[in-house]
Amino acid sequence: MSDNNKAGVLAAVVGVGQTKYQTKRGDVSIAGMVREAAVNALADAELTWDDIDAVVIGKAPDMFEGIVMPELYLADALGCNGKPMMRVHTAGSVGGSTAIVAATHVESGVYDRVLTVSFEKQSESNAMWALSNPQPFSPHLNAGAGGYFAPIIREYIRRSGAPLDVGIRVATKDRIHGSKNPLAHLQLPDITEEQVAESPMLWDPLRFLEACPSSDGACAMVIVNEELADKATKQPAWIRGTAMRSEPTMYAGREEVNPQAGRDCAADVYKQAGITNPREQIDCAEIYVPFSWYEPMWLENLGFAEEGEGWKLTMEGVTSLHEGGDTPWNPSGGVLSSNPIGASGMIRFAEAAQQVRGECGDHQVPNAKTAMGHAYGGGAQFYAMWIVSSEKPE
């Protein structure tokens, strides 16, 4: 390990590993699944377990699988014995937060090579139940995540005057993107807007096909310091900025449609990465959109569009890879195509890295040099974001 006293070391992603996302991975245990992602990341980085200095793991609530602090049990599977291990949990944003904590391990100068893994094996549990168990002393809605967000979406539609088919457009686009990604859970290459429109209404205005699936899966990355990234045989994804923000679930005057924490987080990460116009300077983005309408809402929250104008970019095809949009969002298919909750944020960060590394195969955005990874969680109150680039910062 490095001298403890360096500050502000550059860090880069040199390896990414994912599992196939699907409804149930009955062929592997949780340990087997996270190891599969980790082995894939190590192979991509051309490194071995012995090269790793520390492991940073993340997942959403322990109740999703019913294991208290599963990192303890996973130490063996992730080659951690005798090494440091950390477990991050920041609700749905956890995959992104975990990647940022891993990056900080390297940026601190304390560690040279860190393995980070996030996962969820939803088939071994019931996420709806786990999310509906009441907090003692607190009011609650047995409505799951969709029920929580639907009224906020309705408020967005009311304010922006967006036509009612924007969500349908997003859902169709992300599933067509997902069909180009062999790892995506939902493989729906022939999906049509009519099919989405005709799918059952779950939480008005969200239909069945406008909601994310429930997936098993894990995502891993190897993050290394500048010196090691320079020696990597494959293109590194240089981490140009990272940011996290939190605000309370409820407070007087909270702006739930366009949360302040999201705006502040974006402003912070753009400043670090030297981005003054995200629409022009970011080539593609992997944004946490678990319900269709969050694409136009986040286009505004993240400054890609003026307030009330986000839906226009969606309808113009700006965010579509297959329609040749100039700023594709979720070319991997996004959360709408695969949602192993704890991993979903890290998948966004890892896919952003893969885009600037040119490793995305059929869902590669041509000439992607700068990409954004984004995750949110809780009642849209926790945010994690990073900007990665194929070009090393000066």
Binding site: M69, L72, Y73, C80, M86, V101, P136, S138, M244
Partner: protein, 352 residues
Amino acid sequence: MRDIAIVSFAQSPILRDAGAQNEVELIMPVVSAALNAAGLEDVQGVDFTCSGSCDYLQGASFAFVAGVDALGAVPPIKESHVEMDAAWALYESYLKIKAGQADSALIYGFAKSSPGDLPFVLSQQLDPYYYAPLWADSVSLAAMQARAGIDSGEFTAEQMAEVVQASRSNAKNNENTQLKGDYSVEQLLAEPEYIAPLRKHDCPPVSDGASAMVICTVEKAKEWGLPYAVISGIEHRIESHNFGARDLAVSESVVLAAEKAGVSQGPIDIAEIHAPFSHQELIVKKALGLDDTTKVNLSGGPLAGNLMMCAGLDRIGEVAMRIIKGEAKRGVAHATSGPCLQHNMVTVLEAS
């Protein structure tokens, strides 16, 4: 060079049952106390906040989400959470400051263990396919470890009783503790075995409460005009989850972490050991390489009051505050996680 200092620490009373007080109500006083002791009005005065807690103790997903309500996080703050003892929240904050991404941080941990059956809740920390269905509770696993240590000659039942005697005696000087008093070794050994070879007093009490800390760069501590203790070394290591794969009577991960943290690079005046069970203090003390010149668990330690998810942070806070008060020049604090001392952190603290 960014040396990092602890400038304040606050702990709630360690209670067997906090009653109707919820987690937010437990957290708010300690967060305010730690911030105020650092001369800060609110959470906006620090650059970063990180907490440690465990959903299962609350019996609901997202235990930490309510914790944010205790902070006054408007405008939004830079914040993170580990599902670990808050000692690891300190570690995340430490790296954040080392990386130059923050100059100061608030750390807090909290738990209400009283509503559930803690040893059985912790049985669900185990491998879900092989161990957890057996519902092996945390006290039984610790008893297995104690048996391994006694049988291998690493320690004796008398030494375990001496640990309890010292803990309860030291705790008399700590107004926050739960169990305290004067007991002789003979008196303790006369008690019946609970889960052999452990007696009830070899086990930690179930406790409710919270604690909080403010850390910053040494430059910031000087700017704030605050006395401080410097973190001169901090390391953590995990071991196998498989009980049969390691010698439970010793702690290799403590040895590794202690070496990296530089414990042996100077005399250690005081140590706070996060050993929930009496025999674990003996295992950790040996692994840290401490001799009888080091005063151990002057606070009473976890046997006198065991706040889940912050008992490790409490150890670091205790050592830091004694150094700040001038009671010691160099100290070591240990934090643990998982069954049978699986995961261990060692922090070396020094006077400025």
